[in-house]
């Protein structure tokens, strides 16, 4: 029968009772108390590569947020400013130099400030779509896993159905359908950034839901859940206070690994012409650069490098997180 404290203690449960860190209420004779965050941070810090990735991400985020300021400081031009001054007599863009640190593009715009502004678009789309996918996926996964039965059957088929959609075709279809006029669903989905976020979230929520559902199916049978049920805890309390905190680790790791995938997806959509319009994006720049690659290598190199390094940094941090949160790894 349900017993308390449980025979198998999941990491979260060991450290928190009703939202309080236990160390504060415990009496003398306790072993040195460390919160799970302290433990996690100690493990993560030892992973140099992941820390480097985190630092790089911080730099990219700062650069994206302070893009207008940085552009002003280095004296670069506005990312939308076109100028024939930076095209040679054949109409080809000039390479990197003091006026254009990363060269110019075929319209004479400054590639440096466009790459810098593009970071904002990439990160906004990636974070928002990952957040939306996590919100929908985690909710659906919790519902399906906890209630099982017909709810699980319906929601799982919905996941299968969504995963069966070819993402890029769906994106192109939705992108062209929604980018005219006020957008789709009676103006609810505006063209531009919200649409791209929606397309990416639509394509990625089922993997979140599957991850969560599987974990919930096993967690709901554990003794600490049974004990909570025997104490009369409501379903919502069990799901949000007992089960969900134990899933934060895997959810965090998965989200961190999904961010770079979504950056690439956003770039792919931009490359195909259904990305965010009217703002410089890395994917769109790379697409345009393919036409002048043999003469203006810088136009592809810099946005490409920014994309690769950012994606790499997120993946490294994700791997580091996974190692630090996995009690079985011996890091």
């Amino acid at each position: 029968m349900s017993s308390f404290p449980p025979a198998s203690t999941p990491p979260h449960q060991a450290f928190e009772v009703d939202g309080r860190a236990w160390g504060h209420e415990s009496g003398p004779g306790d072993v040195a108390a460390r919160s799970p965050w302290q433990l996690f941070w100690r493990r993560f810090r030892r992973d140099r590569v992941a820390v480097a990735g985190l630092v790089f991400i911080a730099v990219v985020v700062l650069a994206a947020m302070l893009a207008p300021l940085i552009v002003q400081l280095v004296g670069a031009r506005d990312p939308q400013e076109q100028s024939t001054e930076y095209l040679d007599s054949f109409g080809l863009p000039v390479g990197p130099g003091p006026d254009n640190l990363f060269g110019a593009d075929p319209l004479g715009r400054d590639v440096f400030s466009r790459v810098l502004y593009g970071a904002g678009v990439s990160l906004q789309v990636a974070f928002l779509s990952t957040g939306l996918a996590a919100l929908v996926g985690v909710t659906v996964g919790l519902l399906a896993g906890y209630h099982r039965g017909w709810a699980d059957a319906v929601l799982s088929r919905a996941m299968d159905l969504t995963l069966a959609f070819p993402v890029l075709l769906l994106g192109i279809g939705l992108g062209s359908a929604c980018s005219v006029g006020a957008g789709c669903a009676g103006g609810l989905v505006e063209p531009g950034l919200p649409l791209v976020v929606l397309i990416i979230a639509l394509a990625t929520w089922p993997s979140f839901a599957r991850l969560v559902r599987g974990q919930v199916l096993s967690l709901r049978e554990t003794q600490f859940v049974e004990a909570a049920r025997a104490l009369g805890a409501s379903g919502a309390r069990i799901v949000f206070r007992e089960i969900l905190p134990n899933l934060l680790g895997p959810i965090m790791v998965y989200a961190t690994l999904l961010v770079p995938a979504n950056i690439l997806l956003e770039a792919a959509l931009s490359f195909l012409g259904v990305g965010v319009q009217g703002r410089p994006t890395w994917g769109e720049m790379i697409a345009e650069a393919t036409q002048v690659f043999d003469t203006a290598w810088w136009f592809m190199l810099f946005p490409g490098l920014a994309l690769v390094l950012t994606v790499l940094a997120f993946n490294l941090v994700g791997d580091g997180l996974r190692d630090a949160l996995d009690p079985r790894s011996d890091r």
């Binding site: 017993s3 308390f4 025979a7 009703d18 415990s26 049920r229 104490l231 409501s234």
Partner: protein, 253 residues
């Protein structure tokens, strides 16, 4: 606590696998203020009955009715002692059922938890780690948790197993108070003498052997039927001592 409290089983048959009932033919009713001793050997179905009354096991046949809410007091041997919670934290868990999931336990419930711990004589030990308390003190904390739950029906699983004399006296006093308040108690035990203390006794050995007032029910025949070969009859009368080989290190998965 009023007359709405009621505990009843009618022809209850239940178990863990379809077609293989662990307990059958349980038939009894208890009104407000009554206490029943649930007597039987290990594996006799005491815990199975509690699971059914808590709604964790579905009846295969018959029914059970619990009115007034249930609180379950588990055996402390089943608890993990390295679990870092204080006695106060454990008592506070009794308020989980009435705390919305997005809120912390209310101030009134914190006061109730403190009061409950004082009632079982642990007012000075609220901040002590649960695992650092003695077996009897842990049992009292679990009873305090049930007090915080403020349920009409209390199911106590072997509350006196491995409990020191001070704790036992304290627990008995609290249980008597609860009975006087009109609550229904079901106390599982394997100690026949302990069983005599309560209003009714329910003898289980995979099925209901007997139910009634202890003086009439605890005959040698009933005890032999309940305990089988494990029973040693001491003086030829209806006084028996159940001999057990129960192993406290044993835990069900």
């Amino acid at each position: 606590m009023s007359g709405a409290i009621h505990l009843e089983a009618r022809g209850l048959t239940t178990g863990y696998m379809p077609g293989a009932p662990a307990l059958s033919g349980v038939d009894f009713a208890l009104g407000a203020g009554r206490a029943v001793a649930v007597l039987g050997p290990n594996g006799g179905g005491k815990t199975t009955l509690f699971r059914a009354l808590l709604g964790e096991l579905e009846p295969m046949d018959g029914s059970c009715t619990v009115k007034g809410g249930t609180a379950y007091v588990p055996q402390t041997e089943r608890a993990r002692l390295d679990f870092p919670v204080s006695a106060f934290d454990v008592a506070l868990m009794g308020a989980y059922a009435r705390t919305p999931w997005w809120r912390r336990v209310a101030g009134a419930d914190r006061a109730a938890a403190r009061e409950a711990l004082a009632r079982v004589g642990l007012a000075e030990r609220t901040r002590e780690r649960f695992g650092a308390l003695s077996g009897g003190q842990r049992q009292r904390v679990l009873i305090a948790r049930a007090l915080v739950q403020d349920a009409g029906v209390l199911l106590l699983d072997e509350p006196f197993a491995g409990v020191d004399a001070t704790s036992q006296a304290r627990i008995l006093a609290v249980l008597d108070e609860l009975r006087a308040e009109g609550r229904v108690l079901a106390v599982s035990t394997h100690d026949v003498e302990q069983a005599r203390r309560w209003d009714r006794v329910l003898c289980l050995n995979a099925r209901q052997v007997a139910f009634g007032p202890p003086a009439e029910t605890l005959t040698t025949e009933v005890l032999q039927e309940t305990y089988g070969a494990e029973l040693v009859v001491l003086d030829g009368r209806a006084r028996g001592v159940a001999v057990h080989h129960h192993d406290h290190g044993h835990h069900q998965a």
